[in-house]
Each structure stands twice: as structure tokens, then as C-alpha cells.
């Protein structure tokens, strides 16, 4: 999932303090799972904002809605009939949702309510960690299913840097060394000989060179 964290409410207030009709829009997908931008967080943020405006003696309209997804035309269309009633929208979706909504509702300010962080997994309740950086060419088959791009602090492709101590990364002793994980997993799989294969110099052209990326599937295109 895309992992996000809630923006400090002071930062959001700074962006919306001059508006009078505000819609807070949640997203039922990733940001709901990581408890940053779902229906519950929409309600919490809306309450905080109402309290702020009340303390300022300002009478404003503040409504809440949570869409199934904000990265899909279909669900974003659900607010088409009401969007003109507001002079600003706070989207609690990831950066994708905020932008997609801004593209669709071009004349309405769409403001982000979360900081989008990474693609990751829920390790336990309240702990999410990074697993993928979307480099565009997956090599997990060769690295025991553990990604050196997202798990190694230096994004190394040919073994650890030498800075790890007792299986932990030199930049943070609480961070497990990505290459320790890879080696442990290769051992478990009986494929430690894969470690001996020198990985080629990474081709980053699938990552970000050449500008924003696009996947086009002619077979599913309508």
C-alpha cells in the first residue's frame, strides 16, 4: 500500500484559514489502512478545524465525505455535483489522489491533508515500513525476495557496504541491514550461490529518468 502520515493540523490550518466553505475528503484505500486519511481521520481533522474556526469566531461551513478511491475517475465523479459549493477541498488521499482530484476540479483549490511517504507494509498495528520504491525493474527473484533498492540504505546491489554491525545498518542501529536480510533468506532458500553472481550496473532509466512514467496496456484499453 501507499503509506502516508497525517499532516500536523497547524500546517493544514495555515493553508485553509482564509476559506469559508471547506470539504474534507477521505479515501477508503491505502490511507485508510495506514490510518492517515480514512473516514475516521476525516472526522478527527474536521472536528479540529471546526474547533479552530470556532475559537477564531469564524462561522464557516465544513463538510466531510470519504470516497472509495481518489485515484479513479469513477469515484472522484461522486463529488462533481457538490464541489462548486466549496471554496477549498482538503484531500486526505495520497499525493496521487490530491493531484488527480486537482486535475478533475481545475478551478477549486485541492490541498493535501497527509504527507505521502512510501510504498510499504503494516509490520504491526501502528508500524508501517518501506518495501518498494517503484524502480520499474524488479530484481526480487535474484535477491531472495528482499529489495536492495528499498531495504539497503545505500541501495547497494552487490552485498553489504561493510558498515553493518551485528546485522544492523550503520545509519541507524534499529534498522536491519538489507543485505543481512537478503543473505539470511538466500541461505534459507538454499540459494546462497546466487550471492556470488555479480549484479550488473543498475539501469535507472526505468526509475525516473525521462520524466514521469506511464504504463500503457493496449490489451485492456477501451
Amino acid at each position: 500500500m501507499i503509506v502516508a502520515k497525517k499532516k500536523p493540523v497547524e500546517e493544514i490550518i495555515e493553508e485553509v484559514k482564509n476559506y469559508e466553505k471547506i470539504l474534507v475528503v477521505g479515501c477508503n484505500e491505502c490511507v485508510t489502512v495506514c490510518e492517515a486519511g480514512g473516514k475516521k481521520e476525516v472526522a478527527v481533522l474536521a472536528s479540529a478545524l471546526r474547533m479552530y474556526f470556532m475559537n477564531q469566531g469564524k462561522d464557516i461551513r465544513l463538510d466531510e465525505v470519504t470516497l472509495e478511491r481518489q485515484c479513479d475517475h469513477e469515484y472522484l465523479e461522486e463529488i462533481r455535483n457538490i464541489i462548486d459549493q466549496y471554496d477549498a477541498v482538503i484531500s486526505l488521499a495520497c499525493g496521487v489522489g490530491v493531484q488527480f482530484m486537482a486535475e478533475k476540479y481545475f478551478s477549486t483549490p485541492i490541498l493535501p491533508g497527509v504527507d505521502t511517504c512510501f510504498m510499504g507494509a503494516a509490520e504491526e498495528r501502528g508500524v508501517w515500513s518501506e518495501r518498494c520504491q517503484g524502480c520499474g525493474h524488479c530484481i526480487l527473484a535474484r535477491t531472495g525476495g528482499i529489495c536492495p533498492v528499498s531495504r539497503c540504505a545505500k541501495r547497494l546491489f552487490n552485498g553489504p557496504c561493510g558498515g553493518s554491525t551485528k546485522g544492523h545498518c550503520e545509519i541507524d542501529k534499529d534498522l536491519v541491514c538489507g543485505w543481512q536480510l537478503i543473505i539470511d533468506r538466500l541461505k534459507e532458500l538454499g540459494r546462497l550461490e546466487d550471492y556470488e553472481i555479480i549484479a550488473p550496473i543498475k539501469d535507472w532509466s526505468t526509475e525516473r529518468a525521462g520524466g514521469p512514467r506511464k504504463v500503457v496496456r493496449e490489451d485492456v484499453r477501451q
Partner: protein, 291 residues
Amino acid sequence: MPLQEKIRSKKFVVLAEMDPPKGADFGTLLKHANLSRGRVDAFLIPEMANAVLKASSLGACAFFQKEGIETIMQVCCRDRNRLALQADILAAGGLGIRNLMVVQGEDITYGDHPQARTVNDLGLIELVETVQKLREGKDLAGIELRGAPDFCVGTTMDISVSGGLLDIELENLEKKIAHGVEFVVTNPVFDLRRFQQFLKRIEKTKIAVIPTVLLLKSAGMARYIDRNIRGISIPSEIIRGIQKAPDKVQECINIAGDTIVRIKEMGMQGVLITTAGWEDKIPLILNRAKI
């Protein structure tokens, strides 16, 4: 007279581009520079123009410094993060390089290493700001430097834009000036009437505008550039002139030399001659321009 002094005293400056080699042999580079030595105020040393691997600008500038030749070092946002950029700028200062030109850098996909990872940690305006901070004696972390580098700082300006993009370019120019930029180099100019129209929008008193004069090599090259390269337009009479000329290379040299003369007559602050590999022709262009 050093370039900075000449720019500040509003004297016409002649710059010439000298591309470092793709390799470690600097012999030809020096040979070409020596051909126009003394007639050019400073050589501009590109930093991997078009994202094609070459020896670094810093390296070539240091090489020329040893030879007593004044250079303008290019620093480019594309390949280095803020640490590496600041380190190179400090090194340049320490080596006695007196001029810097800050560029964004063409995208890596244009070059010969499209698999490389683009850096762009700082954008053009931020890098200009960084240079200003270093000149004031502090790095980007706010830590005091042991000896601040001093440079005459330039950057680029796109004169091909119009409408809203022109407004953005002019706004950016103001930001550059505010951060201590003293000169801007434009894209290659062939159509001087169009260039004059552009100049009306710039307050030339605040900054030295230095147009680029590109040496064409053939009518085919001129046609290709006119059709395919964004930001450069070549009048058809120039292309026809090359086609008709009995000595086409001489005609190209004449076009470049005559353009310099007209740029000088327009009261511009200088010119940058760029020859795309024909650096040995720079003296011939200067002859034609009577420089």
C-alpha cells in the same frame, strides 16, 4: 583584464566554448585554446553538455588554470547533489577559477548514459542561491567556511520563449539577479530582429546579456537545427546563403563573424562563440569579426 572586471566596466567580452575531451588526452584541447589565446576573454568549459560523458568542467578548468588561461567553469544540477556541487565549487575557488556558470543540465535521456540516475537535488535557482551563500562565506548547512570563494557568476537565459513562458523567464531572471548573477548567456542567435524584440523586455543595465553565436557547419545542419532544435530559429536566407556559397565552410565562418559584428553594434555586452567541435575555427571567426 579579468572577465569580471570587464563585465563590471561594461566592456564587450568575447567568450568561446571549449568542450573537454571524451577521454584523458587534453592535448587537442590545449592546442585549440592556444589558437585563440589572448583574443578571447575566457573559455567556457561545458559540464557534460547534452548529458554526454566528457572530462569534467572542473578538471578542464584546473588544467587551463595551470596554463594561465581564464575559464568559466560550468556547474550543473543534473549529476551532483548539494554536497558534491558545493565541494566542486569550493575546489574551483581554491584553484583560482574566477568565473562560474550555473546550468540546469539537459535530461540524462538525451545523452549517452540514459541508464544513469538523475540527481537534480538542487534546481537552477537553488544552485545560484547556493553559490551566493558560498561567496558570502557559509555553506548550505550554515557552517562558516575557511575562506569564501569569489566568482563572477553567470547562468543561462532562454530567449526563444514567448507569452506566459517569457514572463516566467523574466521573473526567473530577476531571481537570478537578486542572487548575484552578473551575466546570462542566451541560446544561439541567428535572427537578430527577433532577438531585438526580446531585448525590449529586459533591463540590460542590471545584467550582462551575452548572446551565443553558433558556428554552423553546413546547410543541412542549419536546416536540421531550425526544424528540430527547440529555441533556435535560423532564417531561410542564411540557409540558402550556405547552399549557394562555393566555399561552404568559409560561408559558415562569415555568418558567425558577421553576427558577432552586428551583436557588437547592437551594444550587447559580449558574445559566446560555440563551434560544436570546430574549435580550431574560432580564430577565423574572430578574424572575420575583426576581434
